[in-house]
């Protein structure tokens, strides 16, 4: 493999990794805070992508969708958490089950809506990012470079929010000991609802950014959910850094796996996950959770 080709493939890998981080961030946040594997994550992602499709069709602007979709999904999260998850707090398995139910309802509603439906659809990238530019004398899609930039910006701003802001401090405290936080006079119900809404908004955001690359079709929810779970499991459950490390590892590994051993392309990322689970069951940056 020539150095030039290796560089291009590395770029492909990094851009896929950035996409994976955007996909997994919401799942990781909700799990870290609420100890709930939000299996509706894939459905939120799918709903975000389809809302983006409708927004782009009516307004003609990708950028409007990039703002409107997270708001819409955030609002949905604000309804789902108090209505369904709150009354099951402490019963983790039941909470996980109800997120499956939410996912089934959302995906079936999407299938029934005539202009969304069961057909394969694509969301075109915004005109400014639709073309290609020359890198080392080769055409490279601008949108993929945008995905890298977007993923890095999202990672940095989430990290800043997490470490520096009051909301971040509350979330970190909630992850460590929600009961104590409640005793200190913090409204944990509101905190949980807001966290869930942010997680749902991030899933919707992922839907908008990933749709021009991965397309819209029945089954995209499961695909996104599986990819996010792999990233989160590899990186470490429930920490933002875990999602970053997981995505940075899985993206390039998947790309180079496809290049060097294409016959195992589908299986490669699962092999990485299995290996990590064997050697470090809590993930690369995972924290060992004390069962109280």
């Amino acid at each position: 493999m020539s150095p030039e080709l290796a560089f291009l493939q590395a770029l492909n890998g990094i851009s896929f990794g950035a996409l994976l981080f955007i996909l997994a961030a919401g799942l990781s946040l909700i799990f870290g805070m609420m100890d709930v594997v939000n299996l509706a994550h894939g459905a939120f992602y799918m709903l975000g992508a389809y809302i983006a499709l409708s927004v782009v069709r009516t307004t003609g602007s990708f950028w409007v969708a990039l703002v409107a979709v997270p708001l819409a999904l955030g609002a949905l999260g604000l309804v789902v958490e108090p209505l369904l998850l709150r009354r099951l707090r402490g019963r983790h398995l039941d909470q996980v089950l109800i997120t499956v139910g939410v996912a089934l309802v959302i995906t079936d509603l999407i299938r029934l809506k005539p202009d969304w439906g069961a057909e394969v659809r694509t969301l075109p990238p915004p005109d400014a990012l639709a073309g290609s530019i020359a890198i080392l004398g080769n055409d490279y899609p601008v949108y993929r470079l945008f995905v890298i930039a977007f993923g890095v910006t999202l990672a940095l701003s989430l990290a800043a929010l997490h470490r520096r802001s009051r909301a971040g401090a509350l979330i970190r405290a909630g992850v460590d000991d929600a009961q104590m936080l409640s005793a200190l006079g913090v409204d944990t119900d509101r905190l949980f609802a807001v966290t869930y809404a942010i997680g749902a908004a991030l899933a919707g955001l992922a839907g908008v950014v990933a749709a021009p690359v991965l397309g819209l079709q029945p089954g995209m929810d499961v695909e996104a959910l599986v990819l996010s779970l792999i990233v989160v499991v590899v990186g470490g459950l429930g920490t933002l850094g875990g999602a970053q490390v997981g995505a940075a590892l899985v993206g390039p590994a998947d790309t180079f796996g496809k290049v060097f051993v294409p016959q195992f392309a589908l299986f490669f990322i699962f092999a990485i996950m299995a290996l990590v689970l064997l050697l470090r069951p809590s993930g690369l940056l995972g924290r060992i959770r004390v069962i109280r």
């Binding site: 020539s2 890998g13 851009s15 299938r111 899609p141 949108y143 079709q217 790309t255 294409p262 016959q263």
Partner: protein, 430 residues
Amino acid sequence: MSRSTTTNELAKRRGYTYRLTRRQFLIASSAAALAACGPAATPSGAPATASAAATAGKPLKLGILLPFTKVYAELGNSMKRSADLYIKSKGGKFANRTVPAPIYEDEANDPQVGLQKTQKFIDQDQVDVMLGIVATPIAYAIRNVVDSAKLIFIETNAGGNALTRATTDCKPACKSKYIFRSSFTSWQISNPIGEYMASKKGVKEAFTFVSDYGFGTESQADFTAGLTKGGGKVTGTLKAPLGNNDFLPFVTQLKAQPTKDIYSFFSGTDAIGYIKAWNQLGMSAAGYKMNGAGFLTEQDVLKEVKEQAVGAITSLFWAVTLDNPENKAFTDLYQKEYNLLPDVFAVQQWDGMRAVDEALQKLGGDTSDKDRFIRALEDTSFKSPRGDFAFDKDTHNPIQDMYIREVKVVGGQAVNVISDKIARVQDPGK
């Protein structure tokens, strides 16, 4: 209780019983159930001569097994629309048999589910003819069940070669006298174009890039054989998993190798992802040529990628632009009914229905003798939207023309324009 008695008395005065007692209900409902069971309860092994008179004029029960959920749902919907339209266009009658709405079942793209639903058609519904099935693994899974139940089955999509060939030990499947196919084999859409490219277009070298599953691998092997026969050679091959999420790494690899003619088998989402990556990496500008099996640029793909597919050369037995009176009538009818263009899957289903209809005309509607029914189907030939349609009597696979099509922009729309034809392509199966 007292209130209901008074209502009953009121009702009686007006001349009807308002409320059934439990006993009355039980008697009435079990009588109804018995009546409903009646025809099904007669022994199915009754002598053919006795039931011969009975089948003519009886409604024709069709069981159609299609995917209505999961990734192929839209194909299933398209084929259902086509089947319903065919029956409607015939006024709900084939020969002297009325054709009520077919019984539709969802195979959910799962061989196990497909098998259960087929069993239901056989045992519970006792259908006269079964049609449908999109994915080859499901067609292979139900082959033996259909064969041993002597149920006439018309495959309206799956193109795995083995379903209409004699194979050693019937692995992974083999032809059956009860199975017909109104679609194609992977050999038919991949082998002739290989030979054509080498002998007519002077392509001496090609690189193959296919979807890594049974049908993709089969197409790749058939194309390679065709190209070799025409005097060309395949310089290398690459496979991407079915439902691949990111095509950039693969197309980057394609661009890093020197053979300019690429032959691909992809459909649906994969085809869209592939064509987009092809454009993003500037493959055409770098001199690479996209060739493939027709599904690479069918309507479901074209309406999403549009002019990004311009220049792609594919082979298929039909195109929406095909110029013949049957195709014009069919596309007009379909468009009038559903306000959308038919696709190749609709054509396959249409011809499957047509074959059953034509056979029934020959039999005077009498389907009681299975062997006569099979012979009638074998002798069926007609002008289809795709051109001349006839079954190969040995294999029950259609003998049909293959069209070489190139994606061009016509009137602002990207469409497949037919540039050449390979006449009467017959699968080499025996």
